[in-house]
Structures are given as structure tokens and as C-alpha cells.
Amino acid sequence: MLDSFTVDTRREGPVWVFSTHGYINNVGGETIAKRFEEAHADGGSKYLFDLGDSKIINSIGVSFLIEILERILETNGTMAFCNCAPIIEKTFKIMGIMQYATIYPTVKEALAGMREAV
């Protein structure tokens, strides 16, 4: 049930959107990080992670996201999440990620919010 993980990447204007599918564990985290690095190298400062198809994340998965968040903050970028399952949202809150990233209900709202952000 938790054996495959994929990430779809697309660009919506200034925002890189990563749509994850599956359990965000070490494998998922690594995949996300790899895709992020590719996007980061390609230029960009706004990153949205659509976690609608990921029901759960573990601590290693979180560590990858925190690492990405740190990278983004280093370059004064913006990181946001959307479509988060309650447990993931709770996890982000616990992990302090909410202090530096925003959670939106949907992709649409996220894109709108992020476009407005400076």
C-alpha cells in the first residue's frame, strides 16, 4: 500500500508546484528533494507542495521538507503546502514548519496567495 511514490512537477507562473503521490518517507523525501533541486537550479523562489495524494509523512520525510524549507529561506523564497491531510498538517504544526511556511486548503487558493506574496 505504501510502496510507490511519485512527484509531478509543473510551473504555474512564478510558482513551482510539486504534487506528491504516496507515503512521504525516506524514499518520498529523497524524490521530492531531487525534484526541488532541479527546480531550484532552474530558477525560482516560490514553491508549492500539493500533498493531496499523500496521506502520511514520517519523520525522515519531514526532515527532507525542513531541509528544503531551509534552502528556500536562505534565498528568501517562499514555501507553501496545500491539500494537507489533517495528520500532516498536525505534523507540520508540531515540527514548527508552520512558522515558516503557509498551508492553503487548495492549489487554487495557494497559487492565488503565493502570487500575491512578495
Binding site: 505504501l2 519523520s59 526532515s63 489533517p86
Partner: protein, 1341 residues
């Protein structure tokens, strides 16, 4: 009044003909051959055996007598008493000494020597070899010896009148399976209880006429139950009384008429207790009824029936029952439990119950246990301890591990030896300790009691005469090998017998306890040989007048000192030291490069041979040992009083020890560089000195033409190289073939004798350890040996070292359920060897020192896993009582069974599985076939054999592979693996009706049969290297099981024509690809084992870091639990109670799990301990420091640690809390509210160099419950992939927080979380949970 030492009398004897040791078998068969012309002896022997088989007893006896006469032709003219023989019994008439002796083991006595110490003369020697003496007794006018021959059922009586020992007479009693003999007190009659074809027969033997008179035939006693007739007899002046079935009969001694005296309401059992010391009494328990039958006089029997509050099971000989004389108290004890009942009328009330599970102080070995009432005092004692109860109230308790008690009945004293060397005397009349003293002795054995006050006792350092009332040691004779002290019937002469002399003291006036040494014998040889002059005048001095009294003569003291100098000059102490107080000896040893130290306690020298410098071994029963030291392997041999150096270039790299013999093993690669040759060398003493010769050789050759390997095994019966006795063999086979040494010698070696008493040698033993990862699991034990597995030893330094592992243990007749599981042993200095045993699910820690065992019990009914490499405790699991270990399957699951239940435990005991298999019910024997994952069980009652699939993945419904009925199975030969075969070639063998059956393990069908040409085939119940070994008619036979040529024909492999001829020559066919396959598999297993070892070490380390379980912290209850996802977890919690009463609680979760996470957890633990050491509990500072540790110390990049850190202040009733990356704590308050503590989350530790930690404070009052946890619980995933979630988790907690028991509460939460996953026991993430409840009051330290 003088009293005889009871143990020195042989008033009764019991011998079971079925239990002949293998050693005895060999002795009997092989001994004659080296001494006589082979043709004559062998012809006689064959004819004798033929006669026995044909049951032509007359002819057999006649032929045996011819042999005996030949043996008796030895001439013992000029005797001297050298100590070379071993004395089993000595009987002193005051003039003559009758001794049964042997030159082998004491229990193999085959000679009767009659000495006249007053004339320094050996009067006569009867050498009964090959018959063995199993008992000897004396009537006023006759001495009677009972002999056995191990080959057939029957025994022989030899007797003679004391005045004319040369006129012995003989009677052969054939067809007798078992016999008990009782000497009557005052007349020349011997009572015999013989178990034969008609059952038990009570008869009287009259030596004067050589006639037997049958007194009674016990028709109703079921001899199959081996009920001892002796136990049923109650004697008084007029009657012999015996219980037959449920009837008590009296046999009138005068008329031999039988009278029915009483009918019991139950059948008699061997576990009922009869006493007739003061009043005739029978105590019996049947279910919940206690019966006490007493004789009120004139055979007026009264029976008292008492209802116990619940049924007691008294059905084993380890269990004892006893009631006091007043009928107020009743006790039932077992090896590990005690119950005391108060009796009132017909009811009983349990007033005390204790067991080793419940905190009783010690556990007593069953063969040493004794329980009796003295007045209203219950005495419960054994080698392991002494407990006294006044009624049910404990009043005295000694539970030292190495302890021995001796109850001196006549004096009503307990003489207690308590290590190290402390004695105390307990007066049983007032239950006061009269005195406590420290002696340098390490044992005690009461030899005689003199004048109701003086106790003569033997100990390992000699013999002492002690005033029991004061503890004053009146006389101490250093160890000169005292074997006996005896008084004559008139009580005016006392015999002291030693290895070196027999001395007779005459005590004309007992009241003054003064005596003169009137004779001494046996020192002439010493004096003649002694060149130092130390003993020059010993005999003269001993012959002079000396006083055995409190005022010892200076002469005697000097002589004893001299004796000590001589005999103590070279001594074996413990296992590996020699002691000397002789400067000359010390220098001689030093010149040989041996080290000394001085024991400050006794100011004597010890020589220590370091194991890493040489190979050392000690035959157990003689004061001698051998050492091979240095590069040239110079062989040293020490034996009192001799010291020999054999400068031989011994390529020795291993050793093994039997009772009196020493093997050196030589391992070397042959000229081809491919084959490894193992050549054990037998080193032993003989008449001409030291013999060193080949014992057994093996050779492995390649047969390229046929693409196979051939192993030749050529064995020579070990007793060929002994002068007069056989060996009990230790056989060790090595796995693997060819290749490097580590493969050839998988680190197993060495056996060492433990007990030295050898009373229960049944079978030779084979080491067959099972290795799972780096853990060993042992199966079973027999014999009296400890076998050792030396893990980590190299082939060139095999020996017993610190960290060695004992995998099998035997020697004490603890019931068969005893299983050995662990194990750790070491031999530094004289320290004891230690190992642990699982028995009936309970755990016993054993300590072995000087061949004795001390032990302590740990909680029963636990299956405990201990890392054999370190001896450290790993895990435990509850196990119902009575489960028996059945072995392991290939997945490393440990199998236990009880009736129809089979339980599987995985190697780490994280999981267990129970299945019900009807076919398993009440099995009696089992064969694990590990390679095939099959367990074969045989039920002797139903004669059904069942094969079970015990593989991990088997469907329970299909576990029974086959069931077959095999009637009349005489012996089961284990389906042990063939070393070089594939697993499918494992198969068991049965012996039934004189036919060997080879079974197909997979189907139960008979593959092949072999008719055994001998009815007595047996005694080597093993299959080695595809060869079934058996003994018959004095030879050892082997059948090769040629599994490469279906349908597995039996092949008669060879036989030993005589003791001098090589035993057998066999071949095992191998092909190369199988070997290569085996090697590859071994390499993988080795690598896996290394990894397992590392992980296991980390896991142990971590297990010690986390305070799992319930902790009572005064005002607070603390309960923690966690389940790791892998062997090493990343979750962590801890608490620390500060001096000011505050409680620090921390819980964390390192990203990921496994070894790196475990390492980080360990670092965090260490840091927290340091940070909090001085009560420095500033939260932000602590977390700041910890952040730095995690950030800089992570073993892997990107690791972090979540943490929730709380300080609970009971004085302010406040909690300060900071949670960083960690789930927020939950608090359920007394007012019914339940929620998260409002913490503002933050980054986990280790991510940012500088981090702001938010701290919140909230109330925490009596009745409140705090819960902290890791995310593994709410993130448990259900079958559909949905996580359980924080809401569900919080709701579960809040809804159940009213559960009174915190452990139940968190167990319930865990169960709920696991249930959500759909019942699977795998978990993706670690899970940890800590609950703290504020009870009331302040915290206490």
C-alpha cells in the same frame, strides 16, 4: 556412647541393572584382553557371551569363573598402600579393614582388600574383575559382597566368614533386574528384595548355609513403575511390615507368617512418607486429602483424614511431605516451593506459601533436599541452604550459594559450612547458633561422632576433630587423602584411612577421649622413595605413642606438619592452580617458567598457568594435571607426589579431559595443503609412566575420478591405551570439510568434567549446538559433563577462556525438563564458572566451583534470552509452567510444547505464536530436525510417531506431515544432520524388535531395514557422519547409511574384533558441488552473524537507556513503553528525579530508526545526564546544548531529533514544557478536562545552529495524568492506507484515562493503535508512550 557415621555403613543397597554406565560396559568387555594371551581370553570371552545369550547360566558362570581365576592369579605378596587405588567402602572390625577398591573410578570397584594394619599386612585381595562390586555389607560373622556383570540381568553374591577370608563362596542370582539388600542388625542374615520375572520377592539369605528363603512375593506391585519395595517396609521388633497395594501386612519375624494389619483407603505411592523412628507413621496426599496414619500401639492403626484447601500434586521424587508429631502442622516442599498448613481437626489451612517465583530465598537441588519437622520446627535444607520455620513463621535462613549443611542427628546439631570457609553450629534444641568459626576447609562430611560431643569430619583439606559445643578444633589432619574413619563395634578402636596410610588409634577409655596410635601401615613405599628426608622418620613417629585428645602431643602435631609439607607440596586447587608451601617445589616450578603468587589468606603459594601460554587440563579425581607450554609444547605432568616433565614437541592446540585422562588434539594441514587432519592424542598414566599415543585419526581425501570426497575415520578404542580401565569418551565432530581452518573448526571445543562423582554416566555426549546469528541455543544434557563452546577461539588456541560459552550441561539428576540455554563461563584464578539454565521456564543462575554447584533462581515461568557472547540479559517472555523446550526451527524460532500446545517464539522474543496440535499431546520423546524444519515426536504410550512441520510459514492446519504407529520401539536414534549432506538427507532411525528401521523423514515410510544380530545392541545412540554406531557383544559396529545410492541400502561397515583392533573403517560419499554449496552458505551465514552481532550489541545498549515499565516515584506513577520498528529504535524517553524533588521527563524521536538513530539516541541520553547532573534545569539552556550535540554529532547527514522536555515541580504543582518537532503532551485533569498542552511547536533539534525554544507552564495537580508520546502511534496506518490520526489518538487517551492502572491504560492505547493496522504486528515506525500520574504528596528519592 560412640556412634557410627551413618554414611560409612552400607546397610542397604540398591542397584538398577538397567543403568549400567557405558564405562562399565567397556571395562567389563575389554579389560581382560591386554593382560592375557588374546586367544585364550578371547575364546573364553566369546564362549561366555554365547552362554549368556543362550541363557545357559551354569555354563556362563563356569566360564566366567575360569576368567576370574586367571585374574585372581595375580600375586600381591609385598603390599604397600599407595593411594593409587580408590576406596569406595571401608569396614573396620577393630582388627582388620575390609575395603572395596578399584584402580579405576570408585564406583567401578572390583576388588575387596583385607588389611591387617596392626601387622602392616595385606591379608588378601579378591579381584573380581570383570565383575563390579555394587554393594558390600557385613553381618557379625560374615562379609558379603554383591557383584554385577553389565552384560546380563543377574548378580552374584560372594561371601566368606570373617575368620577365614580365603574360603569364599559364591552364588549367582540370575534373572534379577534390581536388588536391595538390608543387613539385619544382630544376626547373620541378609534381607534381599529382588526384582525379577515374578515381580518383587522378599527373601532372606543365610550366609552360614548359603541358602535362600523366600518370605513373600509381592504379587500386586507393578514392577514397571519401579516402586521400591524398600520404601514400603516398616520394621519393628516383631514384624516386618510392608504395604502391598493398599494393605499393610505384618510378617512375623519368628514364624514368617503374614497378617493383614490395616487396609488403607488408597493405593500406596512411592512418594508417600513412612517413618518409624519414634512412632510408626505414614503420611500421604491424594488430591485435596491428607492422610496421616499412625500406630497407637499394638498395631492399632488410626487414620486421620484432613481436607486440604486445594489439591496438592505429590507425584515426583523432588517433592517432600512431612507432618509434625503433634499433628498440628503439615508441610509440602518442592525444589522451588514451600507450603505450610496448619492442621485443625479434619481441616487444613494454608498459612504460608512461597516459591522461588515469589521471593523464596533459594532453590534446592532435588537430590539433596530434606524436609522434616522437629517438634513444631520445620527444617528444610539441602546443599543450597537451610530454612527453619517455627510453625509457619520463618526463624532462620541461610541461602548462601555455596553452602552445605550436615544435620548431626545424634547431637541435634546442624553443622553448616558457608563459603568462604565459615562454619557455624546451630543447636536444634534451642535453635541458637552456638558458634561461628572460619576454617580453611571447603567442605565437610561427618565421619564419626564421639562421646556425644566430638565430631570427626572430613573435608577437602583433611580431617578435623571438632568440639561441637564450642567449635574448638581439637585436631586437624591435613589432606593426606583421608577416605574413611570408622569405629569398631566395641567402640574402642578408631580407624583413619588415607591415601597414604592406615592408622589405628586405640581408645581404651572413651570418657576421656584419649587414644594411642597403635599401628600405622602404608608409608614404607614413601619412605623408601623419599629423597628429601622429610618423611624419613614419619613411620617411626607415627608408631610412637600419641594422644588423640584436646591435649595433642607435640609429636603428632609435628608429624602432621611434616605430612602436610609433603602432601601439600603440590596440590590442585580449584581448576587451575597448584599450591605449595614448600620452597623447594616452588623454586622448581619457577625454574620452569611458572608464575606464583601468594594467597594472603592462607599464606601459601599458588602456581598459575596462564591458558594463553599453554594448554592445561585436569583430570578430576586425581591430584594431577598436565600442561603443554611454550613453542615447543613441552609437556609437563604433575601428580602427587611426582612431578614429571616430558619434553615432547607436541603440536597441541586443544585438549579434552575425562575423569582420569587427558587428550591433546593436534590439528594440522596435510602435505597437500588442502586437507586438515585432526589427531587426538591420548595422554595418560600407566605402569611404565606416561603413554602418549594416537587415539583417533581422521583423514579426508579427494577422489577426483569419482568426483567425490572420502572421509576415513579410524578409531581405536580408547581403553587400549590405559592400563586397567576404559574411558568414557568425549567425542566431538567438526563440521565442514576442506578449506580454511575456521570453516573446519567452527570454534567449538572441549569438555571438562564437572562433578567428579560420575554417579550418573549413562551415555556419551555429543555437542550439537544450534547457532542463530551470534546466539547459541542448546538442547539437552546427559552424563556428568559440562561441554563448552568456545566462541571466538581460534583453531590454534582452543581452550576455555573468558567469554566462552557453555551450551550443554549435565550431571545432576534434575528432571528432564531442565534445559540449558545460555551461557557464560570463565576461569580466572579460582573464581567460579557461571552459567544459566532455563528449567521449566524458570531461570537458574549456576555457579560452579570445585565441582560443586551453587545456584539462585530468578522468576519462574520466564523464557529469558541472554546474549551468549556477553551473558547480558536481552529479553524475557512469560511462559506457562511445564513447557518443554523442543528446539528451534530454521527461522530461529524457539519451540516449546505443553501437552497439545506448541508455542513458537522468534529469536528476539518480540512475538509469540501458539498453535494447538492434537497429535502432540503427551509426547515423550522428540527429535528436532532443524534443517528440515520438522519436529518428530513419539508417544511411548500410544506408540504413535508424529512428524510436524515447524517452519515459520507453515499453515497450522497442515503442520502434521504424517503419523505412523511403531510398536515395541526400543530405542530412538536421533535424526541428526549429516554434516555434508543437504537437508533432505536427514532421517531418523528406530530400533525395534531387533531391527533397525531407517525412516523417510518427509513421509514416515520405512526406507530400509537392518536386522541386528545381537539382542543387546545399543549404548551409542548417535549417528555420526552418516554412520550409525552401536555396541554389542563387546564390539562396536557401524552401519553406513549410503544416501547417495537410493534406496539407501544399509551397509555393514565393520566391527572391532578385539580391544586392540581398530574399531571400524567407513566412508562417506560426497560430491564437490555439495561442498561448494555448503561453503557458500556458510560464508553468507558468517556475514549475517557478524551483522547480527553488531545490531544486537546496539540494541542491548539502547535497551539499557530507556526506562521501560512502571516506576513508582512516590507521588508520581511513571509508566513507559515502546515498540521499535527495527532492532534499534530512534525513539527515546527518560526521566530524572532531581535532588530538590522535581522530576525531569524527556521524550524524543530521532529521524528514522535503526543503528544511526540508536547512536544519536545514545548521545542524547549521555548529554542529558551531564546537563542535568547538578540540577541545572534551565529549559532553554538545556535544549540549546542538546541542539548542538545533535547537530554536530549526528552519524548521518540530515538527522534531527524531536524532543518534548518537561520539568514537573511538585512543590508548585506546575509543569514547564517545551516541544520541538514533537507531538504536544496531553493532560487529563481531575476536573474531567483532557487536551493537549498548548505548546508552540518548533524545529526539531539539530536543524538550526541557533534556535528559539518556547516554554509554556501549566498546572499539574494530584489526580492529573500526563501523556507524552512519539508520532509512531497516531501515524499507524490502516489497511486502506489511512493513518490513525492524532484526533483518534487523543480521543482514545481521553476516553480511557479513568483506567486506574497506568500500565493497562497505555497497553490499551497500544492495542488500539495496533488493532487499527488490521492486526499486523509489523510497524513502520517506532512507537513510544509515557504516562505520568500525580498521585499525592511530594516526590521522594
Amino acid at each position: 556412647m560412640l556412634r557410627l557415621a551413618p554414611h560409612r555403613r552400607t546397610d542397604t543397597m540398591k542397584f538398577n541393572m538397567h543403568r549400567l554406565p557405558l564405562t562399565a560396559f567397556f571395562i567389563v568387555l575389554c579389560f581382560p584382553f591386554p593382560l592375557f594371551a588374546a586367544g585364550t581370553i578371547e575364546a573364553n570371552y566369546r564362549s561366555t557371551m554365547e552362554a549368556y545369550r543362550e541363557q545357559d547360566w551354569e555354563r556362563a558362570e563356569r566360564l566366567a569363573r575360569i576368567t576370574l581365576q586367571q585374574i585372581d592369579s595375580r600375586n600381591w605378596k609385598d603390599w604397600y598402600y599407595t593411594g593409587g587405588r580408590r576406596t569406595r567402602m571401608a569396614y573396620f572390625t577393630g582388627d582388620l579393614v575390609y575395603m572395596t577398591t578399584s584402580e579405576g573410578q570408585p564406583w567401578e570397584s572390583n576388588k575387596v582388600e583385607i588389611h591387617d594394619p596392626l601387622r602392616n599386612k595385606l591379608v588378601r585381595v579378591y579381584d573380581f574383575d570383570p565383575w563390579l562390586i555394587f554393594g558390600s555389607t557385613h553381618t557379625p560373622n560374615y562379609t558379603v559382597t554383591f557383584l554385577r556383570w553389565s552384560e546380563y540381568i543377574g548378580y552374584k553374591i560372594v561371601w566368606f566368614e570373617k575368620g577365614s577370608p580365603e574360603n569364599e563362596r559364591t552364588i549367582l542370582r540370575d534373572s534379577i533386574e534390581e536388588v536391595n539388600a538390608t543387613r539385619k542388625e544382630d544376626d547373620d542374615l541378609i534381607e534381599l528384595y529382588e526384582k525379577g520375572p515374578r515381580g518383587w520377592v522378599l527373601s532372606v539369605f543365610e550366609p552360614a548355609t548359603g541358602s535362600f528363603k523366600e518370605v513373600h512375593h509381592f504379587e500386586t506391585i507393578d514392577i514397571s513403575k519401579s516402586v521400591s519395595a524398600q520404601a514400603h517396609l516398616i520394621k519393628d521388633a516383631e514384624y516386618w511390615k510392608f504395604l502391598d497395594g493398599n494393605k499393610l501386612y505384618g510378617l512375623n519375624v519368628g514364624t514368617w507368617g503374614k497378617e493383614l494389619l490395616f487396609t488403607l483407603p488408597f493405593e500406596i505411592s512411592p512418594y508417600d512418607v513412612f517413618t518409624n523412628t519414634r512412632s510408626e507413621k505414614l503420611v500421604a496426599v491424594r488430591g485435596d486429602t491428607l492422610y496421616i496414619v499412625t500406630n497407637a500401639g499394638d498395631n492399632d492403626y488410626e487414620i486421620r483424614t484432613i481436607h486440604l484447601p486445594y489439591p496438592l500434586h505429590v507425584n515426583h521424587w523432588t517433592q517432600r511431605i512431612a507432618s509434625d508429631d503433634s499433628g498440628r502442622w503439615f508441610a509440602q516442599t518442592d525444589t522451588d516451593s514451600l507450603r505450610i498448613f496448619s492442621l485443625d481437626g479434619d481441616s487444613a489451612r494454608l498459612v504460608r506459601s512461597a516459591s522461588s517465583c515469589l521471593g523464596s530465598t533459594y532453590l534446592i537441588l532435588p537430590d539433596r533436599i530434606n524436609t522434616f519437622w522437629k517438634g513444631d520446627t520445620l527444617v528444610h535444607h539441602g546443599d543450597a541452604g537451610l530454612e527453619l520455620f517455627k510453625g509457619a513463621r520463618p526463624i532462620y535462613d541461610i541461602d548462601a550459594g555455596d553452602l552445605r549443611t550436615n544435620y548431626i542427628k545424634g547431637l541435634e546439631y546442624f553443622l553448616v559450612y558457608r563459603a568462604p570457609g565459615e562454619f557455624l553450629a546451630l543447636d536444634m534444641r534451642d535453635l541458637q547458633v552456638e558458634w561461628t568459626k572460619t576454617f580453611t576447609v571447603t567442605n565437610l562430611q561427618v565421619l564419626a561422632v564421639l562421646e556425644d560431643r566430638y565430631v570427626l569430619f572430613d573435608h577437602i583439606d583433611g580431617m578435623s576433630l571438632l568440639d561441637i559445643k564450642t567449635g574448638e578444633e581439637l585436631l586437624q589432619v591435613p589432606r593426606v587423602g583421608i577416605f574413611a574413619a570408622d569405629l569398631n563395634a566395641d567402640g574402642n578402636r578408631i580407624l583413619l584411612g588415607g591415601d597414604d596410610f592406615i592408622g589405628v588409634f586405640e581408645i581404651p577409655n572413651q570418657s576421656k577421649l584419649r587414644g594411642d596410635l597403635i599401628a600405622v601401615s602404608g608409608l614404607s613405599k614413601w619412605a623408601a622413595e623419599d629423597t628429601s628426608g622429610a618423611l624419613k622418620d614419619v613411620r617411626t613417629a607415627l608408631s610412637s605413642s600419641m594422644r588423640l585428645s584436646s591435649g595433642l602431643s607435640e609429636d603428632l602435631l609435628q608429624i602432621l606438619t611434616d605430612l602436610k609439607l609433603r602432601k601439600e607440596s603440590l596440590r590442585l586447587i580449584g581448576d587451575m592452580a597448584i599450591r605449595t608451601d614448600d620452597e623447594t617445589w616452588r623454586k622448581r616450578l619457577e625454574n620452569e617458567g611458572m608464575e606464583f603468587f601468594i594467597d594472603p589468606k592462607i599464606s601459601e603459594y599458588y602456581a598459575i598457568f596462564k591458558l594463553n601460554e599453554g594448554v592445561i587440563a585436569f583430570p578430576a579425581l586425581i591430584f594431577a594435571f598436565g600442561v603443554a607450554k611454550g613453542e615447543d609444547r613441552t609437556l609437563y605432568w604433575f601428580e602427587e607426589p611426582h612431578y614429571r616433565i616430558e619434553r615432547r614437541a607436541l603440536p597441541v592446540c586443544g585438549f579434552s579431559v575425562t575423569q582420569e585422562h587427558l587428550f591433546f588434539f593436534e590439528y594440522k594441514i596435510d602435505d597437500s595443503g588442502e586437507n586438515l587432519i585432526w589427531s587426538p592424542l591420548l595422554f595418560t598414566e600407566s605402569i611404565d609412566g606416561i603413554n602418549l599415543g594416537p587415539l583417533l585419526t581422521t583423514k579426508i581425501e579427494e577422489d577426483p575420478e569419482n568426483q567425490r570426497y572420502i572421509e576415513y575415520a579410524i578409531e581405536v578404542p580408547s581403553n587400549s591405551y590405559t592400563r586397567d580401565r576404559a574411558l568414557t569418551e568425549i567425542r566431538v565432530r567438526w563440521g565442514g570439510i576442506g578449506g580454511d581452518q575456521s570453516e573446519m573448526f567452527p570454534k567449538y571445543t572441549a569438555g571438562i568434567d564437572l562433578t567428579g562423582n560420575g554417579a550418573n554416566w549413562y551415555d556419551s555426549m555429543l555437542v550439537d549446538p544450534v547457532r542463530i546469528g551470534n546466539r547459541f541455543f542448546a538442547h539437552r544434557m546427559w552424563g556428568n559433563r559440562v561441554m563448552m563452546i568456545a566462541e571466538g577461539s581460534q583453531a590454534d588456541s582452543i581452550g576455555v577462556e573468558v567469554g566462552d560459552i557453555v551450551v550443554s550441561f549435565g550431571g545432576y539428576p534434575i528432571n528432564n525438563a531442565m534445559q540449558v540455554n545460555i551461557i557464560k563461563t570463565f576461569f580466572p584464578d579460582r573464581h567460579p564458572m557461571e552459567f544459566t539454565v532455563i528449567r521449566n521456564g524458570g531461570r537458574l543462575n549456576f555457579t560452579v566451583l570445585n565441582g560443586r554447584i551453587g545456584y539462585e533462581s530468578l522468576p519462574c515461568n520466564k523464557l529469558i534470552e541472554i546474549d551468549p557472547a556477553t551473558g547480558e540479559y536481552l529479553a524475557e517472555i512469560d511462559l506457562p509452567p511445564g513447557y518443554g523446550n523442543e528446539g528451534l526451527n530454521s527461522a530461529g524460532e524457539l519451540l516449546y510444547s505443553l501437552k497439545d500446545t506448541l508455542m513458537f517464539f522468534d529469536p528476539l522474543m518480540q512475538k509469540q505464536k501458539k498453535i494447538i496440535i492434537e497429535a502432540v499431546a503427551e509426547h515423550r520423546r522428540h527429535w528436532p530436525v532443524p534443517a528440515m524444519d520438522i519436529l518428530i515426536m513419539y508417544n511411548r504410550n500410544t506408540e504413535e510417531m508424529v512428524a510436524l512441520d515447524i517452519s515459520k510459514t507453515a499453515d497450522d492446519a497442515d503442520r502434521v506431515l504424517w503419523k505412523e504407529t511403531f510398536d515395541n520401539v526400543y530405542r530412538l536414534f536421533g535424526a541428526s544432520r549429516y554434516p555434508y549432506s543437504d537437508s533432505e538427507k536427514d532421517f531418523p532411525v528406530l530400533l525395534r524388535d531387533g531391527t533397525l528401521l531407517l525412516l523417510d523423514t518427509a513421509t514416515g515410510s520405512v526406507i530400509a531395514r537392518e536386522t541386528i544380530p545381537f539382542r543387546d545392541f545399543g549404548l551409542i545412540p548417535q549417528i555420526w557422519n552418516g554412520i550409525l554406531y552401536g555396541t554389542a557383544a563387546g564390539k562396536i559396529f557401524g552401519w553406513k547409511i549410503d544416501y547417495y545410492h537410493p534406496p539407501f541400502p544399509w551397509k555393514y561397515a565393520g566391527f572391532g574384533a578385539s580391544a586392540f583392533v581398530p574399531l571400524l573403517l567407513v566412508s562417506i560419499l560426497l560430491n564437490r558441488h555439495r561442498i561448494e554449496k555448503l561453503k557458500a552458505r556458510q560464508a553468507v551465514e558468517l556475514k549475517r552473524a557478524e551483522i547480527d552481532a553488531e545490531v544486537s550489541a546496539a540494541r542491548r545498549l539502547q535497551a539499557g537507556l530507556i526506562p521501560v515499565g512502571a516506576h513508582d516515584l512516590g507521588a508520581f506513577q511513571f509508566v513507559g513503553k515502546f515498540i521499535p520498528a527495527s532492532e534499534v529504535a530512534g525513539d527515546y524517553f527518560d526521566f530524572r528525579l532531581l535532588d530538590d524533588g522535581r522530576l525531569v521527563v524527556v521524550i524524543g524521536d530521532v529521524s528514522g530508526h535503526g543503528l544511526p538513530a540508536g547512536i544519536l539516541v545514545s548521545m542524547a541520553k549521555a548529554s542529558l545526564m551531564t546537563l542535568n547532573r547538578n540540577g541545572d534545569t534551565d529549559l532553554t539552556q538545556t535544549l540549546d546544548s542538546l541542539n548542538e550535540v545533535v547537530r554536530n554529532g549526528s552519524p548521518e547527514k540530515s538527522m534531527f531529533m524531536t524532543i518534548c522536555y518537561l520539568i514537573i515541580d511538585p512543590e508548585r504543582q506546575k509543569i514547564s514544557c517545551s516541544a520541538n518537532g514533537h507531538p504536544f503532551p496531553l493532560i487529563a485533569r481531575q476536573d474531567g478536562s483532557c487536551s493537549e498542552i498548548g505548546v508552540k511547536g518548533g524545529y526539531p533539534l539539530g536543524i538550526r545552529e541557533k534556535q528559539i525554544f518556547q516554554v509554556v507552564e501549566t498546572d499539574f495537580q494530584p489526580g492529573d495524568t500526563l501523556l507524552v508520546y512519539t508520532d509512531g502511534l497516531p501515524e499507524q496506518v490502516g489497511p486502506e492506507g489511512e493513518p490513525w490520526g492524532y484526533d483518534n489518538f487523543i480521543t482514545t487517551f481521553c476516553n480511557n484515562v479513568g483506567i486506574a492502572d497506568l500500565e493497562d491504560l497505555i497497553d490499551g492505547i497500544f492495542q488500539k493503535a495496533l488493532a487499527y493496522t488490521g492486526g499486523g504486528d509489523e510497524t513502520e515506525d517506532d512507537m513510544a508512550l509515557v504516562a505520568i500520574r500525580y498521585k499525592s504528596g511530594q516526590l521522594r528519592e
